[in-house]
Every structure is written in structure tokens, then in C-alpha cells.
């Protein structure tokens, strides 16, 4: 926004109206799609449409389209770091080996000391590396 003057307020208002119409259509699509079973694709569809809608709001309603680039950099930075946060957490959780005691029955049973039997749960994590 290098100048505070607006060339054509009517054209500007028209752009906003169009943005609203597109946002409402996208809302109708996402609600409609939620009633159809696409399996795991439902999440992808819903989040893709949400991202589209969010981008429209940011670009047109929040004026990022014509704004100074620094504001767009800050906005994208926020989402970038959020993305990293989500990505690495889900990578961690998604690739964890299941360490529930259920999986460790065999090593626990082979333990010779009968006195160790009640302490299955604390002993389980210790037995895990040996299994791998």
C-alpha cells in the first residue's frame, strides 16, 4: 500500500463481493463433500479447501495481494513455523515403535527370576532394546 488513495472504490468493492461469493461456494463444496465417503481423502479434501479459503481471505480481505511484502513474509513465516512444528511432531509420533507391554510378553516370560514377575510394566521398556 504505497499510496493511501484508491483508484476505483467500486471496482475494489466488486472484488470483495466476488471473493465472498467464491468463499461461500467453497463452503458449500466442503460441506457437500463431507456427506460423501471418500475414506481418508475426506480429510485431505476438507483441509485443501480450508487452505484455499484461508488464502483467499489473506490475499483479498487482508490485502496481502497489494500490501508491502514484509507483511506477507511475516504471515508466511508464521505458517512455515507452524508447518515445521506439525511436521516433526507427526513424523515422531508416526514412526514410533509400539512399546506397549503386550508386545513384550516373550522377553518378560523368559525372565528367570520369579520375583520380577509383578514388575512387568517397569521392566518392559528396559527389555525393548534387547528385543531389537
Amino acid at each position: 500500500m504505497s499510496s493511501h488513495t484508491i483508484d476505483d472504490p467500486k471496482a475494489e468493492a466488486k472484488t470483495y463481493s466476488l471473493t465472498l461469493v467464491v468463499l461461500l461456494i467453497l463452503t458449500a463444496i466442503t460441506v457437500g463433500a463431507s456427506y460423501i465417503q471418500f475414506g481418508s481423502m475426506n480429510v485431505v479434501i476438507a483441509l485443501t479447501i480450508a487452505t484455499l479459503k484461508g488464502s483467499l481471505v489473506a490475499l483479498f480481505f487482508m490485502h496481502l495481494r497489494h500490501d508491502k511484502p514484509v507483511n506477507a513474509v511475516i504471515a508466511c513465516g508464521g505458517f512455515l513455523f507452524l508447518g515445521l512444528f506439525l511436521l516433526f511432531t507427526f513424523l515422531d509420533v508416526g514412526t514410533r515403535v509400539n512399546l506397549q507391554p503386550v508386545n513384550l510378553k516373550a522377553p518378560a516370560a523368559t525372565a528367570p527370576a520369579p520375583a520380577a514377575a509383578p514388575a512387568t510394566a517397569p521392566a518392559a521398556p528396559a527389555a525393548a532394546p534387547a528385543k531389537e
Binding site: M1, H4, T5, I6, P9, E12, A13, Y16, S17, T19, L20, L23, L24, T27, T30, V31, A33, S34, N42, V43, A46, L47, I49, A50, K53, G54, V57, A58, F60, F61, M62, D67, K68, V70, N71, I74, A75, G77, G78, F79, F81, L82, F85, L86, T89, F90, V93
Partner: protein
């Protein structure tokens, strides 16, 4: 003036980035718990009324539209129009909260509450912590979002009073613009809350 406007705007965007991260943490927690209690979460989703969520989405989108028109009116020296659009935005915000109140009281009646307050009967997996966890996230996230709406109503009213006094013009409309940015962010967060809570099953 120009520089002051740009600086204020950068400050606002920095604040909005922290808001994104605040809600992002909650979204992450929600995602992890959905991973852990998939069946319970799908079942709990069914308790949310999709038509009401859709209605609120439309109301917020319209309010974003009236907000951006208010900013445009302020920039083009039309104080009366600015006030009118701000009042419309406030009206939309009140409708949103009204629908939320209706939804919340419905959940209270059915015992769909967070943590140890959860007392709903007839679940498929009775005794699972998944249901109470879902509603803990539901009330935390929509509640925090609702607080933002309340704060927004306060800010919008303040701006409307000042616009009524004729304080804003093409030369100075920074507060209108910044409150507008805040309001659009509240809308943007709902754009993600809505599909995650109401649509994904």
C-alpha cells in the same frame, strides 16, 4: 504518517503470527489425540451439529466481507458508511455467539463435557477417555476462538464510536485497518476449526 501506518501494520502482523502459533499448538494436540482415539473421536464428532457449524461459517464469512467494506469506506472518507458496516459486522459476531451459546447449552444438557465432567451415556466404548478428551479440545479451541470474537466485538464497537465522531479519513484509518486484520484472522481460524470439528468423521 505513512511510516507510522506501515509500522503499526507490521506489528499487527507479528501479533497475528503469534496467534496462528497459539492455535497451531491446539490443532497439533487435537491431531495427536485424534490419532490416539480414532474411534472415540469419530463418534464424538457426530454430536456436533453440522448445519449449525455451516451457519456460523457463513455468518463469519459475511462479517469478514462487511468488515473489509468498512475499511474501504473509511479509506474513501465515508464515516457514515463505515459505522454502518461496522455495526453489521458486530451484528454478525453476535449471531455467531448466539449460535455457539445454543450449541454449548445443548452439549451441557447431554453431559458432553471435558475431563471428569463428562457424563454422557450410550457410548460405544464406555469408560474410554477419548470422548472427554475430544470435548476438552472442542471447548478449549472453540472457547478460545469465542473469546477472540468477544474481544473483536469490543474492538469493533470502539472503532465504530470513533468512526461516528469522524476521526477516520483517507489520511488516517490505521485503527480500522488493524481491527479489520484481527477480525479476518478470527475468521481464518474458524475456517480451519469448522472442517476439523464439524466435517471430518
Amino acid at each position: 504518517m505513512e511510516q507510522q501506518f506501515d509500522t503499526s501494520k507490521i506489528g499487527m502482523w507479528l501479533f497475528l503470527a503469534t496467534e496462528v502459533l497459539t492455535f497451531g499448538g491446539l490443532f497439533l494436540g487435537f491431531g495427536l489425540m485424534q490419532n490416539r482415539y480414532p474411534q472415540e473421536f469419530v463418534e464424538a464428532h457426530e454430536h456436533l451439529q453440522r448445519p449449525l457449524g455451516t451457519l456460523n461459517t457463513v455468518v463469519l464469512l459475511v462479517s469478514s466481507f462487511t468488515m473489509v467494506l468498512a475499511v474501504l469506506a473509511a479509506r474513501t472518507n465515508q464515516p457514515k458508511k463505515t459505522v454502518r458496516y461496522l455495526l453489521l459486522t458486530i451484528a454478525c459476531a453476535c449471531i455467531f455467539l448466539g449460535v455457539k451459546y445454543f450449541e454449548y447449552s445443548h452439549k451441557f444438557e447431554e453431559g458432553l463435557l471435558p475431563g471428569r465432567f463428562y457424563s454422557h451415556h450410550g457410548d460405544l466404548l464406555p469408560g474410554s477417555h477419548g470422548y472427554a478428551t475430544f470435548f476438552a479440545f472442542y471447548f478449549m479451541m472453540t472457547g478460545l476462538h469465542g473469546l477472540h470474537i468477544l474481544a473483536g466485538i469490543g474492538l469493533l464497537s470502539w472503532i465504530a464510536v470513533r468512526a461516528g465522531r469522524g476521526e477516520f479519513s483517507n489520511a488516517y484509518y490505521t485503527p480500522v485497518d488493524l481491527v479489520g486484520l484481527f477480525w479476518h484472522l478470527v475468521d481464518l481460524i474458524w475456517i480451519y476449526l469448522f472442517p476439523l470439528y464439524y466435517l471430518i468423521t
